[in-house]
Symmetry: C2
Subunit: 216 residues, 2 copies
Amino acid sequence: MSKLRFNISVSLDGFVAGPAPSVEEPLGRGGESLHEWVVKLQSWRRAHGLEGGTVNEDDEVMREWTTNVGATIMGRNMFGGQPGPWDRAKLWRGWWGDNPPFRHPVFVLTHHPRDPLTFDNGTSFTFITEGIAAALDQAREGAGAQDVALGGGADVAGQYLAAGLIDELELHIVPILLGGGAKLFDGAGTDLHGLELVRTIAGDGVVHLKLGRDAD
Amino acid sequence: MSKLRFNISVSLDGFVAGPAPSVEEPLGRGGESLHEWVVKLQSWRRAHGLEGGTVNEDDEVMREWTTNVGATIMGRNMFGGQPGPWDRAKLWRGWWGDNPPFRHPVFVLTHHPRDPLTFDNGTSFTFITEGIAAALDQAREGAGAQDVALGGGADVAGQYLAAGLIDELELHIVPILLGGGAKLFDGAGTDLHGLELVRTIAGDGVVHLKLGRDAD
C-alpha cells in the first residue's frame, strides 16, 4: 500500500512557525527563517517553475520528497481563501495561480463542500468533508502505485500522527530559536506509533532527521 | 580565555524535561527517555565509578564534553536540598554522596550564602550569590587553562544564553515527543548570539548538533 509521508521544518526549540502570525508575516515572527534552506534549492525552484538553484545534499533530500508522490493531502488553510462570499462564489482557486506545483490530485480537508477544481498541468483539488481517514482513502486511490504526501499544515499533520497514519516523517531541524509560535504536533500526544529514526543527514544550515517504521 | 560549554538532551518537540515532574519522576512524564542514550555509555559510567558501558560515536561525543573541563557551574536545584533547616544546618552535601563525579571546582548559583564544601576526590562546591557573571568569573579562575562546563539546569543555561555568555552548545536530539514540560531555553529569547551549527553526528537513537562561534 502506498505510504503517507510528511516532512516539515522545525526550530531547535520545537516550533514550526513563529509567534504572532499576521498578513505580513504569515509564518509568524522569525518563521520565514525556517524555510531559507529550501527556497534556494534547485528542486524547490523547478517545482515552482523557476530556473537555477543550489544542488547539494539538501536538494537531494527535497527531491526525494517530491519523487514517487501521486497525491497530496492538505488542510483548508493551506489551500487558502476565507470561507465566506469568496468561497461561496467559488472564486478562490488556491494560492498558486494557474500552475499549482503539484501536477497530481490534491485532497483538501474542509467543512465546506465544493466541486473539484482541475488545472491543465494535471493538478486537481478535491474537497473532502468526511475527515482525515476518508481523505487518505481517496488520496491513496488517486495516487495509484505511488505514495501520498501530507502537505500540512501542522494541525492536520498532528491529527494524522495521533491516528497512527503517518508512515514516513522527516524533520528538517533549523538551528534557530523562535521562542514561541506553533509547536510541532501540538496536542497530538507523545506516541510516535512505531516511527523510529532511520536516517540523519547534516545539510547546509539544516539537519534532516527521517523517521520510518523500519530501521534499515 | 576558557570557553563556557553547555550540552543538553532535547526531544523532537523541544522539551528538556517532560510534564508534571514529581518525586517519582523528577524529569517529568517521559523525561527519563531523554537520557537513555547516555547512561549506557562507557564515559558516563566511568565518570560515575561504574564498569563497562558502550563505546561508540555517542560515547566519543560525551567524552569530549568531559575532557578539558576545569570547573562546572550549576543552579541550586541541580545541587539539590531544600533551603530550610537542612540547608541552614549545612547537612546537605549534594546528590552525589562522598564521590561527586566532577573532581574539580563546582560553582553553585544560589541566594543562600554558605561556606564551600570540599571532597577528597578533588571536587569542591562554592556557593555564589552574586549572579551568573560573578559565577563565570570565579569558574574561569578555578578552571585555569581549561574550559568551564555549564551543568544546568535549563533555566540557568537560559540565563547564560540570553547574556551571550555560552561559547559552545551541543543539543542531543532524541527522537521522541514529550508533548509538554520544560522548554529548551524558555524565556531566553531567540538570539543565539552568533552561535552557528558547526558539527552534526548521527548516533545510536540520538543526533548531536553542535553550535559554536566558528563554522570551521
